[in-house]
């Protein structure tokens, strides 16, 4: 673009300097005497400008200028005489022949014709690509570097430099600057005195909490344990590796009872689920009910049809409008009833005076009952504290008692075979103490159905 612009300027300049080239205005003034009938043309569009203005002479002239420039490297009129003309002394012939001979001698040095053709014959130098020599953001970078130099003179280092220096110093001393947080299960992790009394905080606790300098206080309610059961429940004395006979029997009995209970429940379930072959079905009961009636039924039902309609209509028909007399009578009766009731109440109240003792006893009984119920409820609440609560879809399942039968007992510590798993025991204990909710293992659920297809190789074999 810049190149084009420059050439354009030059052309303008050259055109203006030519004697035969008249400025636009002057030409208008000069040709005013020989005015052709002006063609009226809209000049609001560039297209019409080009169409109706004659620029042939200008084009020709400019072509000529370009030709001169191409051939000689400038306008011939501007050239010095020395460059255009020379004095022919005739000596040049020798030189020419000599040059020819030298050319002939060096056969290889003669350029190919094709190369000569491809040689640019224009004397105008090719324009330079300015972009190729330009640096992007040069100004900004210069400013930055200047700024950095200024800061460096003051002694302020950039961050990257500072970090680099720190890293170098650390490497030299053998300590890493950035401490990676230690994993919680790192076996070599260090501990310290967590409960040592540090410097007490003097600042406003609300301020500290809001600015996250202090954690929000844990409510006291959270430090209560959800169950009163101890963390470790020691096994019964019968669970010793070398138990006393009777305590062992006790434990066995306990385990046996649990087992029996379980079995009973299972049996009950099985009984309830069992399909009884000769159980009465709807059909069979119906048959039973209808047995012996079927023949009669076929004859009977048609007869009572007319009667049934009548009986349905009957009650509605009897409801006639009450007479005034009836109404009055009823009202009087109602009033009388009410009066009688009120009188009865008054009498009853009076009679209660004589029932004082029995009332007293009944009251006492009631009180006693409430007290008993209160006590019961309290006892139940106390018992609940040590019971596993219902915390999820599943109920807490008490684990099986760990028991070794008499013939399984080890004779010595060496041959002891441990019973049960402590891991499971701990897990169940956590559930029992309501610390975690009982849960069953999440089963794998396939999102999409499996699709089976035969492999091509297999198909081919078949």
């Amino acid at each position: 673009m810049t190149n084009n612009k420059a050439t354009h300027e030059r052309h303008k300049r050259v055109a203006a300097a030519q004697p035969g080239f008249l400025p636009v205005k002057s030409s208008l003034d000069g040709n005013s005497s020989v005015i052709k009938p002006r063609k009226r043309v809209n000049k609001n569009k560039k297209k019409s400008w080009n169409k109706f203005s004659d620029i042939q002479d200008v084009e020709e002239f400019l072509d000529d200028v370009r030709l001169q420039e191409r051939a000689t490297g400038g306008l011939i009129s501007e050239k010095t005489d020395d460059s255009l003309f020379f004095v022919d002394t005739g000596e040049t012939d020798e030189k020419d022949t000599q040059a020819q001979t030298t050319v002939k001698k060096g056969k290889h040095s003669k350029p190919l014709r094709i190369d000569l053709i491809l040689q640019p014959d224009s004397h105008i130098p090719a324009p330079k690509n300015i972009l190729a020599f330009q640096q992007p953001n040069a100004k900004k970078q210069r400013r930055i570097s200047e700024n950095a130099a200024k800061l460096a003179a003051k002694g302020v280092l950039p961050r990257r430099e500072k970090l680099l220096q720190l890293r170098r110093a650390a490497a030299a001393s053998g300590v890493s600057v950035k401490e990676h947080p230690v994993a919680n299960n790192n076996p070599d992790r260090a501990f310290y005195d967590l409960w040592s009394a540090g410097t007490p905080e003097t600042a406003d606790p609300y301020y500290l909490e809001q600015t996250k300098k202090k954690l929000v206080k844990r409510p006291d309610r959270l430090n209560e344990k959800p169950s009163v059961l101890p963390a470790i429940e020691v096994i019964a004395p019968g669970g010793s590796y070398n138990p006393d006979f009777f305590s062992h029997q006790d434990l066995l009995r306990e385990a046996h009872e649990v087992e029996v209970k379980k079995q009973k429940a299972e049996e009950k379930l099985a009984r309830q689920l069992a399909v009884n072959e000769d159980k009465a079905t709807e059909e069979s009961t119906f048959k039973e009910q209808v047995e012996g009636l079927i023949e009669e039924e076929e004859i009977e039902p048609k007869e009572p049809e007319g009667d049934t309609e009548d009986t349905v209509i009957g009650p509605t028909a009897t409801q006639e409008k009450k007479t005034e007399k009836q109404r009055k009578k009823e009202k009087a009766k109602r009033i009388k009833d009410l009066q009688r009731k009120a009188e009865r109440q008054v009498i009853d109240k009076q009679q209660q005076l004589f029932q004082l003792r029995s009332i007293h006893t009944s009251l006492k009984k009631q009180e006693q009952r409430t007290k008993m119920r209160q006590a019961q409820r309290k006892a139940q609440q106390e018992a609940q504290k040590s019971m596993p609560r219902r915390l999820s879809r599943l109920k807490f399942q008490t684990p099986d008692l760990d028991v070794q039968l008499s013939d399984e007992l080890a004779s010595s510590l060496r041959s002891l075979k441990p019973e049960g798993s402590i891991l499971k025991d701990r897990f169940k204990s956590l559930q029992k103490r309501n610390i975690i909710e009982p849960r069953e293992r999440a089963r794998f659920k396939r999102k999409y159905k499996l699709k089976y297809s035969e492999k091509r190789a297999f198909r081919e074999i078949e």
Partner: protein, 566 residues
């Protein structure tokens, strides 16, 4: 009238509770993370009183949390860490997928981690609170320390648990705070008294675990994460109270390193120290060197008298005893803990385990603990006993006679020290014998069993005589109820020596009788009921005792027959 109509389930107990899923969404955590957070922070699910109200009319059982608890969780900085970790995992997975190994490396180096220190401080505001709650932590870390290095949990966790449990055991030895040990079929129950708190924990036998499938390992790992942190801080503080160096260092280490020639067989150079620590056979280094007060204590007991004598200070029952262990596996370690905990010294075969302190040939060894029925080479000046002796001694707090625990002898039953009998309960005769020994009575020679049994019966009678007057009264009442009149006879009188004590007692009994007579009808009824209950209890206990005697007799008869046959 008028006003806005109240909508259902917008006020009252519904507003106090929030379902698990809602809580999870409020915290914007995944279920696993939510569960982890709840475990770490000690937030437990709640069972609402009126489920239908809370559950908006539905009776389906669900997990509920208190809304205030969840609001409290919102302040927890760890929640942010969880989210960070989630993003870390996502980035890592992406880098893996794109096979950007340098990126993976860099990310792994900057893996986000969180600390639980502040949570421990928050949940256990004082040190004693933490000590009180250390039961669970101990059981869990002892359990995890026995896990094999399978994929069930991180190897690092196992190592940390091992370190912490060894530290704890070392503390127990140094502080001599072990009280009870019980070998059960499940594992070994220990009870210690630390800073006035009774702490019970269970240690599994060190055999291969069969990993149960119905246990959520992720939940257990989270608990372990919390508990290891707790236990670490507790250990640190406990070591401080004893002026011990933390992390524990062996006392006189230079001597040790000279001694150990065959160490390399057991452990790598890096691990041998921790292995030696975990052998528990050497004492620990103190920050302030101990003044020799132990030796002063030594002089309190003349050497001869210690044996078979009730030792007032139960901490030092094994004071003059050098043990030598020859039992398999971890039993030795357990025994060692016990022995050292009560003042003894322990060693074992060099080829068996690392950390032995003296040889088998040492002349000063007094007790040789063997778990095999026979042993080839026996030294004359030491007892060869079975390991149960040590445990029973610890539980009885005295040195038991060794005769019952010799090699090849059927051992007396190992009683649970955790059972505390109330008055009138059935007490097994072995325990009675132990109690007699504790009272300082001389045990009968083993040969005349019958005498001993009579002794037992005497004990029973003693027990009964403690509530003598009640029994007397009961007898009287029984007789009266039956309508039998006391037989009347005149016999020549004897001059009774006046016994002051006796008279006093009689007076008391008389007073009581009068008091009973003065009772109202209602109170009398109650009193009779109580007495009846007590009597029934005693009767049951007597029945059990009789049964036991019959059982023993039959056993004895069998034995005698066998002997005759032989």
């Amino acid at each position: 009238m008028g006003g806005l109509q109240k909508k259902k389930y917008e006020s009252g107990s519904v507003t106090n509770y929030v379902s698990r899923n809602k809580a999870r969404k409020k915290l914007s955590l995944s279920l696993a993370d939510f569960r982890r957070l709840c475990i770490l922070k000690g937030i437990y699910p709640h069972e609402p009183k009126h489920k239908k109200k809370v559950n908006k009319g539905s009776t389906a059982p669900r997990t509920f949390y208190l809304l205030k608890d969840i609001r409290f969780l919102l302040h927890e900085p760890i929640v942010g860490k969880f989210r960070e970790y989630k993003i870390f995992v996502r980035k890592l997975r992406k880098a893996y997928g794109k096979a950007e190994w340098s990126g993976v490396q860099r990310m792994k180096e900057n893996k986000p981690a969180y600390k639980l220190d502040h949570i421990i401080k928050e949940r256990y505001p004082t040190f004693i609170d933490a000590v009180r709650d250390v039961d669970d932590a101990l059981s869990m870390s002892f359990l995890f320390s026995t896990f094999a290095r399978t994929g069930k949990c991180h190897v690092q966790t196992i190592q940390l648990c091992r370190r912490l449990s060894v530290e704890w055991m070392n503390y127990i030895i140094a502080s001599r705070s072990l009280r009870k040990v019980f070998l059960s079929i499940k594992g070994i129950y220990y009870q210690a008294e630390v800073l006035g708190q009774t702490i019970t924990w269970i240690i599994p036998y060190q055999f291969a675990h069969d990993h149960p499938t119905d246990v959520d390992y992720r939940v257990m790992a989270t608990f372990t994460e919390l508990y290891t942190t707790l236990l670490g801080f507790v250990n640190f503080r406990l070591y401080q109270t004893l002026n011990l160096v933390y992390p524990p260092k062996l006392d006189g280490q230079g001597e040790f390193s000279l001694k150990s020639e065959c160490e390399e067989d057991y452990a790598l150079e890096s691990e041998s120290y921790s292995e030696k620590l975990s052998a528990l056979s050497a004492s620990l280094a103190r920050t302030v060197p101990l003044v020799e007060d132990e030796e002063a204590e030594l002089d309190l007991f003349p050497a001869e008298g210690v044996r078979y004598k009730m030792v007032c200070c139960s901490f030092f029952i094994f004071l003059f005893i050098l043990f030598f262990l020859r039992s398999e596996g971890t039993n030795s370690i357990m025994c060692c803990t016990l022995c050292r905990c009560f003042g003894g010294q322990v060693s074992w075969d060099k080829s068996l385990c690392i950390g032995s302190t003296y040889d088998e040939t040492d002349e000063t060894i007094t007790h040789h603990i063997v778990d095999r029925p026979t042993i080839d080479k026996q030294y004359i000046n030491r007892y060869y006993i079975q390991p149960q002796w040590v445990y029973d001694c610890v539980n009885g707090k005295i040195l038991l006679p060794v005769e019952e625990y010799f090699l090849g002898v059927t051992l007396p039953p190992h009683l649970s020290p955790f059972v505390e009998e109330s008055e009138g309960d059935y007490v097994p005769p072995e325990k009675l014998k132990l109690q007699a020994l504790q009272r300082g009575e001389k045990p009968q020679a083993e040969d005349d069993d019958e005498e001993e049994e009579e002794d037992d019966d005497d004990d029973d009678e003693d027990d009964q005589s403690e509530d003598e007057d009640e029994a007397n009264l009961a007898e009287m009442e029984e007789k009266r109820a039956q309508g039998k009149s006391l037989s009347v006879k005149v016999t020549p009188g004897k001059v009774k020596p006046e016994n002051r004590m006796r008279a006093e007692q009689e007076e008391k009994a008389e007073e009581k009788r009068l008091a009973i007579m003065m009772m109202k009808k209602k109170e009398k009824y109650l009193y009779d009921k109580i007495m009846f209950g007590k009597k029934r209890h005693v009767r049951e206990a007597n029945k059990l005792a009789a049964k036991r005697k019959a059982h023993d007799d039959s056993n004895k008869a069998d034995k005698k027959k066998k002997k005759k046959k032989c």
